[in-house]
């Protein structure tokens, strides 16, 4: 059986890891490559890098982080932020990332998903979808770092993106992001049931049972957290031991081997 994945997320700006609350108020959380290596060694199953202030000037800094990360980690990682073209994606994959996530760029130009999937394979293309509840039982896609309501239903966009070739969905609930009150179980379950690709739930992890809930009730394939890990409130080992004891399939690894 496939294991549920634990995915630390590294939000970056200008080559530094930061973490905000509901997409604003950033505090410095350190060097991305060091953190990536630490999580890889501690048993994380995958890493997500998001360049939250991606600009052309910062592209070289990002590529340098990707290159150095690829040299030190032993697990897959995705990189996203400001991806607009197939060439953007190629550069990041060449630098050593396993997957690239697309968000606003893909929403504005859905062909980006099919072009990238055709060029590199669906397994490389992650749709990053930021959703916010707008009325009962309705979540819309928000773009531009969660600032702009597109008016489009999150579930519809998820389905369309998968049809176009997205191989995974990184689903962030803006409502729960940074609150530490738990993942958005309702939304995650809806999206996970609507698509035929894995869903990574993001936004709101605050305690151990939140992960149990998102896997069991939310039907997530992977769960992402940032500040919980960055500020040492929870280690990956603690979390994995806890989940394993609750009969959730979790990857065991070899803590004694260091590569």
């Amino acid at each position: 059986m496939l294991a549920k994945r634990i995915v630390p997320c590294l939000d970056m700006t200008q080559g530094k890891v930061v973490k905000g609350i509901q997409f604003v108020n950033f505090r410095d959380a350190g060097d991305p490559v060091k953190l990536a290596k630490k999580y890889s060694d501690e048993g994380a199953d995958e890493l997500v890098f998001l360049d939250i202030t991606a600009t052309v000037e910062n592209r070289d800094i990002l590529l340098d982080v990707v290159r150095r990360t690829a040299e030190v980690v032993t697990i897959p990682f995705s990189v996203g932020g400001g991806i607009r073209t197939v060439e953007d994606m190629r550069m990041i994959l060449r630098a050593g990332a396993d997957k690239v996530s697309v968000n606003t760029g893909a929403f504005k130009n859905p062909k980006l998903i099919s072009d990238c999937a055709k060029e590199f394979g669906s397994q490389c293309v992650v749709l990053s979808l930021d959703a916010r509840k707008v009325e009962p039982n309705r979540w819309n896609v928000f773009i531009n770092g969660g600032r702009t309501d597109t008016g489009v239903s999150a579930i519809d966009w998820a389905k369309k993106a998968v049809k176009l070739g997205a191989g995974e969905i990184l689903l962030t609930s803006i409502d729960t992001d940074g609150t530490k009150q738990g993942f958005n179980v309702e939304l995650t379950k809806k999206v996970s049931e609507a698509v035929s690709v894995p869903v990574i739930a993001s936004g709101g992890a605050g305690k151990l049972d939140d992960f149990v809930e998102i896997f069991k009730k939310g039907k997530a394939d992977a769960a992402l957290a940032a500040s919980l890990f960055h500020f040492g409130e929870l280690t990956i080992k603690q979390l994995k031991d806890y989940l394993r004891n609750r009969n959730i399939p979790i990857r065991s690894w070899y803590e004694e081997y260091k590569y």
């Binding site: 496939l2 294991a3 890889s40 199953d45 032993t74 394979g121 490389c124 690894w253």
Partner: protein, 203 residues
């Protein structure tokens, strides 16, 4: 010197990075002469079988690979590189390298395809390749297709994703793994290390 075969598909740098981490000398190349001189070969690859075979043929690598394997050169096929060792792939209905008997099939029983993530391998065969690698270790998979070897003797490890499939095959100096050892944490690195060790004993 290990040569990582460059045929224009997939993430070769990650295999190279992994070997660098293991402090093993390696080189990425698509030159048949370099392949012939290599002590052992690794055929990585992500992507479609049809494109993979087409690229191998265009670069004149298909024949070289088969010849070198016949000579007994240690060989590791990763993911698509494993699938291409078989006779035929359902993916695009293409003829492959025919080093091993059998075909490549698409998963049918699961809703979510490709399989993406960490899955367990039941290790069936005790060879040096699995030294210090525990039975039921987790490895990182990304695949929609899997190998169905005709000769069950070559199956060294199996995994379940709706159906049980051969996730490791081994015959003489040839090994194929459906997962990505270069992305599979310590278990994957241990396996790579064992392949490298075995390969250097042969040459």
């Amino acid at each position: 010197m290990i040569v990582i075969i460059d045929y224009g598909v997939g993430n070769l740098a990650s295999v190279k990075n992994a070997l660098d981490k293991l402090r093993v000398e390696s080189k990425i190349s698509s030159n048949p002469l370099v392949l012939k001189k290599a002590d052992s070969l690794i055929l990585p690859g992500v992507g479609a079988a049809g494109q993979g075979m087409k690229n191998l043929k265009e670069k004149g690598l298909d024949k070289v690979i088969v010849e070198e394997i016949e000579k007994g050169k240690p060989f590791l096929g990763i993911c698509l590189g494993m699938q291409l060792l078989f006779e035929k792939s359902e993916e695009g209905d293409v003829d492959c390298l025919k080093v091993l008997k059998g075909t490549v099939k698409r998963f049918k029983k699961m809703k979510k395809i490709p399989q993406i993530g960490w899955n367990q391998v039941d290790i069936k065969k005790g060879t040096n390749l699995f030294e210090d690698v525990d039975d039921k270790s987790y490895f990182y998979f990304v695949n929609s297709f899997y190998c169905l070897p005709k000769d069950k003797q070559v199956v060294a490890g199996v995994t379940n994703y709706g159906e049980t499939f051969a996730s490791i095959v081994a015959k003489d100096g040839v090994m194929g793994v459906q997962f990505h050892p270069e992305k599979s944490g310590p278990a994957g690195f241990k396996l790579l290390e064992n392949f490298v060790k075995g390969a250097s004993n042969v040459s």
